[in-house]
Symmetry: C2
Subunit: 213 residues, 2 copies
């Protein structure tokens, strides 16, 4: 088994580090290295690796755009995100754009090799700590959410809940047996208290608070 890998990273240090880490493993060959998205796209025309180690923050293109275009144009290339960004939103962004793995730069050689092997075989590999982080991120929303948003009154919470359940103001008025004006008053309070520009912003905030899936 010979795995041809390629790396894109604007830090030469990272590239050297990966080269050093992979040196003792002859079955993984770092066939090419690039320091920008443009250089990579140009290089892919000549030579396609099996696995691409892709950073997110690059000088010209962003890693997310690159992942999208590469997985669309070269579906045979497996992409392993290699970055120091551990925020769940970045993980989601990369995985949804076609990456099969996500690794942090502070990893060790065996893990790097294992991740490359897994990704090469089409199996997902995500840093376990990051998996846990995402999970907690999804499950623990309620903690700093509607209950711990002391700004909102009971009634406002009720109205907000009905709003994200796609009820309009007149419908909410009927449902709560109050006047349309009262509902509108609550809506205004919600917009101000939650610093929302409009309905869309309000819904997004409410969903972040866990009021809807």
């Amino acid at each position: 088994m010979l795995i041809r890998a390629t790396i894109v990273d604007n830090h030469p240090m990272t590239i050297h580090g990966v080269q050093t880490m992979l040196a003792p493993y002859p079955h993984i060959q770092l066939s090419a290295t690039y320091t920008s998205g443009k250089a990579l796209l140009a290089g892919l025309e000549r030579e396609q690796p099996d696995v691409l180690l892709l950073d997110i923050m690059l000088p010209d293109t962003s890693g997310k755009e690159l992942a999208e275009t590469i997985s669309a144009n070269w579906p045979g290339i497996r992409i392993l995100a290699l970055t120091s960004l551990d925020a769940p939103s970045h993980v989601k962004g990369m995985m949804r754009r076609g990456c099969t793995g996500y690794l942090l730069k502070d990893t060790d050689a065996p893990t790097l090799v294992y991740a490359i092997e897994q990704v090469y075989e089409g199996k997902e590999f995500i840093e376990p700590s990051i998996k846990e982080q995402i999970l907690q991120n999804v499950l623990r929303l309620k903690k700093n959410s509607i209950d711990n948003t002391p700004k909102l009154t009971q009634r406002e919470k009720e109205v907000l809940t009905l709003i994200v359940q796609e009820y309009t103001s007149p419908e909410i008025a009927d449902k709560l047996f109050i006047s349309l004006r009262t509902v509108e008053a609550h809506r205004c309070s919600l917009l101000q208290k939650l610093d929302a520009k409009n309905l869309v912003a309000l819904v997004k905030i409410a969903m972040q608070m866990g009021l809807a899936e």
Copy 2:
């Protein structure tokens, strides 16, 4: 170490099954069993267990409401969700309402015991398969989403993206250098194609497609 456990489930069969499973483990004592939410709440006034095994579907109250009130009124009681529902939304709902664990009913005795022990110590325990399911649910949205929604045209996708970014129709018109009427036409198409009742519904669908966090 003696762990006092209590179970709420409207199926006597489940209760018997748990009793049988826990019998060989003397350090876990099933101190009380209830078949309804009301009975549980009444029983808690007399006796509080260390760990509560809680089903979601109950005749009177729902497990989610129960989890919320119990974790609020008896914060010392650890709650382990024990149900046959494996949908991520249920897991999120229960965990966000104060459960420390989530177990499926098709589990085996050692796992049940381990879960109770973990939860007793305040450590989270979630069925590994469910963890993975939630993770995939979060990460793989894009797959059957905006790209695989062939219904939407390119322009409609652009407009939808701007909508969830909290732009209003006039703002979108300015940004895309098109008429307000055109934007509104795209909005109507979006509402129809995505079967959305209104803006709120549209935003929710868009977020499920991964267009925003």
